[in-house]
Each structure stands twice: as C-alpha cells, then as structure tokens.
C-alpha cells in the first residue's frame, strides 16, 4: 500500500490534482468556519483596543496593564485552540491509509490558518495603544500564538484534536491568574516554565515556545491528529 501511495503522490499527472485535493481536504474539516473563527478572534485585538487601553473613569491604572496582558494570553490561546480543533479528521484511519499528500495538505491547511491568525493579530496590534512599557505586544502575541499552536497540535496528536484547547487555555489561565495575584512590576517575571507570561526579551521563553511549536507541528504534519474512534467519548 505504501508503494502504491508513493507511486500516486510521485506521479506528476496525479500531482496536478493537489489544488483539488486541498479544497476537498479543507472542506472536509470545515476550514471556512475555522478561518472565520480565527479572523473573528484575532479581530478582538482591534475591537477591544479601546476597552483595554482606558478604564471606565478615563484613568490609566494597573487594570489596563492587566487587561492588555490578559488579551495577549487569551486571544492567542483561543486562536491556537481553533487551529488545533480544526486539525480533527472526520475520516480517521481510512484517510490515513488511502490518502496521498497528507503532510502537504496538513501543512497548507494549518499554515493557512496560522498565517491568517498571525497576520490579522499583527495588523491590529500595530494600531494598539500599548500600556506595557518596554514590551512589544506584537512579539508577545506572536510567541504565544506559535507556542500555543504547537501545544494544541501536541494535545491533538496524543489525546484528541477536539480537546486540543486544553493545554493552550490552561497555560493562558495560569498566566492570567498569576498576573492578577502579583504586584504589577512583577507581571513580566514569572517562573521560567511559564514561558507565555514572560517578557518578549526573555530568550528562554522563545526557545521553549519554538521547541513546542516545532515538535507539535512536525508530529502533526507527519502523523496527523489522533484517531478517536466513534465509540469513545
């Protein structure tokens, strides 16, 4: 079967069908809804800019730092969860056995969503009134989105793609809860393992995030999300 698959995928004539395959692939995964969700969640950066930059009484207090910090955690986690959940395959073992070009299709699908998430986030964050002195919100959002997407894909690989929100959102919840419990000047210096709460100038946090991203991404591209058979809950 492997030989047959390789033959089909290497055959230049069959190869021309990749765009068609890609369209079928993304349609089967409800990718348009995922794209809409990614754009919707990322555009919250723009929608909530005013709310996160000023308090109700017009002041510029610690609450605004908390709000912006919270958005830098919650929105990347939500985008990563959507990407992770859209990795779920409705066909499971059948597709894995018979499908061709799956790694390429997965790359195109996840890459498209990721680029969309990064692009919209970045564009809207450029218009931000940052209340985080010395911190570039775009970099924090980028690092968190990459690392959290990696962790979502890892959960999807080992548990179930439909619960891939578990890890990114748990990380975001911890970071947000911590930021609300410590003095405002210590917000950007959590313990080293809480990489998503670090300042973007902390190189270790980038190292951890990129390791998770590469590991999750590579595993997903090679093997795909785990098949959770219909009988299981």
């Amino acid at each position: 079967m492997m030989a047959v698959t390789r033959h089909i995928s290497n055959n230049p004539v069959c190869g021309t069908g990749l765009p068609r395959l890609f369209v079928l692939y993304v349609l089967a995964r409800g990718a348009f809804r995922s794209m809409a969700l990614v754009i919707g969640v990322a555009s919250l950066y723009g929608v909530l800019n005013g709310w996160a930059s000023t308090s109700a009484d017009g002041g510029l207090g610690e609450t605004e730092v908390l709000k912006q910090f919270g958005l830098m955690q919650a929105l990347p986690a939500a985008i990563a969860s959507v990407i992770g959940m859209s990795a779920w395959s409705p066909f499971g073992e059948v597709e894995r056995t018979a499908g061709s070009s799956l790694p390429r299709l997965r790359l195109l699908h996840i890459g498209l969503l990721l680029v969309l998430g990064i692009g919209v986030s970045w564009a809207l964050l450029l218009g931000w009134t940052s209340r985080l002195p010395g911190i570039d919100p775009g970099l924090v959002a980028l690092r968190n989105l990459l690392g959290m997407t990696g962790s979502a894909l890892l959960v999807g690989r080992y548990l179930d793609a439909r619960v891939s929100w578990l890890l990114p959102l748990a990380m975001a919840m911890v970071a947000v809860f911590r930021s609300m419990s410590v003095a405002i000047e210590r917000i950007w210096s959590p313990p080293a393992w809480l990489w998503n709460g670090q300042s973007p100038s902390a190189n270790e946090s980038w190292a951890i995030a990129m390791t998770i991203f590469v590991a999750g991404g590579a595993l997903f591209l090679r093997v795909g999300a785990r098949d959770a058979s219909g009988e299981e809950e």
Binding site: A56, T129, R162, L169, V176, M180, V182, G230, E233
Partner: protein, 497 residues
C-alpha cells in the same frame, strides 16, 4: 416488544398482573439514573482533566496564598479561588459530553428512543459535576493539608469551600446549556472562555458607585468576586453570613440554570412553571447580595478578639497578631532601625501595633504596621508621620526634603530593596510641576512632568546620600532642630545638611 402468549393471558387472572407502586417506581427511576450516571462517569474522559484541574488549581491560587505564614482563612480562600480553574474546565467537559449524540451521529436515533432528553442532559451534568468536584476536592485536600501541617491561626471555613464547590456545579450547568444551544465542536471552547470570564470579568470590569461600593453584578454574585471583596482576615469577621447568603444564592442559581435546561427539552406548562418559580427564588436570594449598602464597607465588619504578642526593643514596644508571632523578631528589628533615628520626636509613636491592612488605607494613624512579614510593610507607617500638605494632596505631592528624609528612614532597616527609592512610594516632589499629559489615542491626564522629574531626581539622590553620610549624632541634632518645620513641609532641599 414481546407479547404475552394467549395461554398466559388466559391462565392469569387480571388481578394478579399488578403495576409497581408509586414509591417503588420512583426508587427504580432513581436507581436506574444513578446506574447510568456511574456508567457515564466511568466511560467519560473526565479523568484526563483531573491532573490539569488539580495541578493548575493548586498552582494558581498558591501564587498569592502560600507565604511563610499559613493561615486557615487564606487556605480556605485559596480553595475557593481554585474554582476559577476547575469550574471552567468542568463547564468545557459538560459542553463536550452533552454534544456527544450529535458527535456520534446518533441524535436522531436517540430522539426516537423513549428515554427523556432532559435525563441525558442531566447525566452529562452529573458526570461533569462529578469530575469537576473530584478536581476541586483534590485541590481542597492539598490546601487543607498545608493548613493542618503549618497553619498558625484559625480553622477551616467550610462555608467558603462549599461555595466554591457550588460554583463548580453552576459552571457545569452553564457548560451543558452552551453545549445544548451551540451544537459544534467549538462549544467546549466557548463554555470554557465564557465561564472563565465570569470569574475574572469581575476584576476587569469594575463598576463602582460614588461611595466606592461595588455595583458589578458579576463581582457581587460570583464566588470569585465575593472572595475579592470579602477577603477573610484574622482581624475582622464579616457581619453578614457569607456561607448562608451566598450558599442560598448559589443553590438558587444552579436551580435556575437547571430549570432553563429543562425548558429546552420539556416545553410544557410544568417546565415554564419551574423556570418562573426558580427565577423568583433566585431573585429573592440575589436581593441581599446586590444591595451594596447593606453588606459592604467597614460597618459590615466585627473585630475578632485576640491577645497580641509583644516585644520591647530599643525603647519601642512592638505588638503583632499571635498568628504572626514568628515574624515578631524581624518586625521589631525593622521598626527599631527605621524609627530609631527619630525616636521620641513629635508624632513618632513608641508603641507599634499590627493592624488589618484595610484599616490603614482608610485612616492613617501613628504607631500602625500593616504589612508584617512583607517587604513594603513600613511604607505607610513612615508616610503616616509626614502628613501630605492639604493643598497639594490631590496630586500626591510633598516637599522634596520630606521625600528625601522618608526614603532615608526606610533605608535604615536595610530590608527595603534599592528600587524603593525614587519609585514614588511617598508621593512626588512638589518642586516638579504637574502638567497635562498626552498619553496618545486622545487620552489625557494630569501627571508629573517626566523630563523635569528626570532632571530633578539626581538632586534628591545627592541630598539623601549627603544626609546618610553624616555621623549619627549630627543627623539626630539636625532632625531635632528642624523636625517641626520638616513635618510642616516648610523646608527645601537646600535646607538639608
């Protein structure tokens, strides 16, 4: 369906075919429901969530609650606060479970069976509540274990912990509702985000009345919001019954949510009647909580009696709450080194008492320590000696000479970090003008002129270092001679030695 054979019907008198009695039917229904529930609990993936619930649930509240001194009130509150993590995860699990018929493409099949849809929703609710409560109990065991081993004061606050447990169940019902209304693989995500927002939304959307009382319904009605308002203290007790009032409200809230769930499936008069009844009950239960003047503010506290433990050192008498006895020695040392140079001068107390931090914020009185065992504990004690001149208090400004002496005093205990100096803890020097500041994005305010301040700061640092370099007796002589003028704010930087 099997039909009775004609011979059986013919041989059996009608009186011998009996229906089970009503109580027996109820028992059988409950028994079968519990058996199904147990099946659901065992077959669900909830156990995957347990490590996350317990791990994150213990870590998150520990950040602010595991200091050197462990108090039962803190541990009870930490347990309650873990519902911020456990509750949303239970809600996500509930949304996941309730959507299973659709996910397995069995919705139409299940709808054609005689079983009640509401019962299946209740099974999802029971299963997710079970795993949520299991996680919550795990967290509670950890925090209570810490308290049992190390606590120096108080006892477990069962009402507080039970409130958190009710919060977990309430969130599970919200999860079921979201899962029923939004039939999608994204519904767990939505449930998690929505319920997490119900916990922290409190701190992000502050709505307060003119007198400072809180009007945000999320803050007033959700356990986390209540926890940030009613923080338990070793000094004061809340007058209104936290356990009874909030407990009643949470029960009514869960009842209201379950009734809404029932109406989604059973749209008959009974369903609507149950919903309106629960709405009424929840309204009655919420009324005392959303009426701020009754419940919030200092009038709602009763002091708890205690015998302070005291230590005399260098002519000072330092007293702390017995729960903080292990910190007494360090506190006494800090008080004596900070206030030693100005001992006996006007306005400097000889007896120092630890008080409830909340009280210090309201009225600054002499001889008060608020943060025992904390780095910044003596800031407000020093500030209370130097009243801010009335005309500039609106911008927190005071003469630079005062700021310099105050910063020097705090440095005496050598426990304050170097960053303490110049960070504006004691207000800004009135020599630097305030000006309208443009923060961009059409936001303006009144603030310290940054360039002017940067130019002025070195002068203050130099004055402080110069004063610190003087011999002790010369410092004392200068302080005694200029004390009243310094406190009245009449001295400038040039008047310092």
């Amino acid at each position: 369906m099997t039909t009775l054979s004609p011979s059986f019907v013919a041989d059996t008198p009608a009186s011998r075919i009996t229906q089970p009695s009503a109580p027996a039917r109820v028992t059988a229904t409950i028994r079968s429901f519990l058996m199904l529930l147990w099946l659901g609990i065992r077959r669900s993936q909830g156990y995957w969530l347990l490590p996350v619930m317990i791990g994150v649930g213990v870590y998150a509240p520990s950040i602010g609650h595991l200091p050197d001194i462990v108090l039962w009130p803190d541990m009870s509150m930490a347990t309650l606060q873990s519902y911020v993590i456990v509750g949303p995860l239970a809600a996500a699990l509930a949304a996941w479970l309730v959507d299973r018929d659709r996910r397995h493409r069995m919705r139409h099949l299940m709808e054609s069976t005689p079983g009640s849809g509401f019962q299946r929703d209740l099974l999802a609710l029971g299963t997710s509540s079970f795993w949520g409560l299991a996680g919550y109990v795990g967290v509670a065991i950890w925090f209570c274990g810490q308290a049992m081993m190390r606590a120096t004061w108080g006892g477990p606050d069962v009402g507080l912990m039970a409130t958190g447990a009710m919060g977990v169940v309430a969130f599970a019902v919200i999860g079921v509702l979201i899962g029923r209304l939004v039939a999608s693989k994204f519904s767990p995500l939505l449930a998690l985000v929505a319920t997490f927002f119900l916990t922290i939304g409190t701190d992000l959307f502050k709505i307060t009345a003119d007198d400072g009382s809180i009007l945000n319904p999320i803050q007033l009605l959700m356990p986390y919001g209540l926890s940030s308002v009613n923080y338990p203290s070793v000094f004061y007790r809340e007058n209104h019954g936290f356990a009874t009032e909030v407990g009643l409200w949470m029960v009514a809230f869960v009842g209201l949510l379950v009734a809404s769930l029932a109406v989604l499936r059973i749209r008959n008069a009974g369903g609507w009647l149950a919903l309106s009844g629960m709405l009424l009950l929840a309204g009655i239960a919420a009324a005392p909580l959303i009426n701020p003047p009754l419940n919030w503010g200092p009038q709602a506290w009763t002091p708890i009696d205690y015998t302070p433990v005291c230590e005399s050192r260098d002519g000072f008498e330092i007293c702390v709450h017995p729960a903080y006895e292990s910190e007494l020695d360090e506190t006494a040392q800090r008080v004596s080194s900070t206030f030693g140079p100005i001992q006996g001068l006007d306005g400097v107390a000889s007896t120092w008492n630890q008080v409830n931090p909340i009280r210090v914020r309201d009225n600054q009185e002499p001889g008060v320590i608020d943060g025992v065992g904390q780095q910044y504990g003596l800031i407000s004690s020093v500030a209370a000696i130097f009243p801010i001149p009335g005309d500039s208090s609106q911008h927190g400004q005071r003469p630079a000479a005062q700021v310099v002496i105050m910063e020097w005093l705090v440095q005496q205990s050598s426990l304050g970090p170097p960053s303490l100096v110049g960070s504006g803890w004691f207000g800004w020097p009135s020599e630097v003008s305030v000006s309208p500041q443009d923060y961009g994005n059409e936001m303006t305010g009144i603030g310290q002129d940054q360039t002017e301040m940067a130019a002025f700061q070195p002068r203050m640092d130099a004055a402080r270092e110069q004063f610190a370099a003087l011999p002790e007796n010369e410092q004392r002589v200068w302080l005694e001679a200029n004390w009243d003028a310094l406190r009245a704010g009449e001295l400038t930087l040039e008047d310092l030695p």
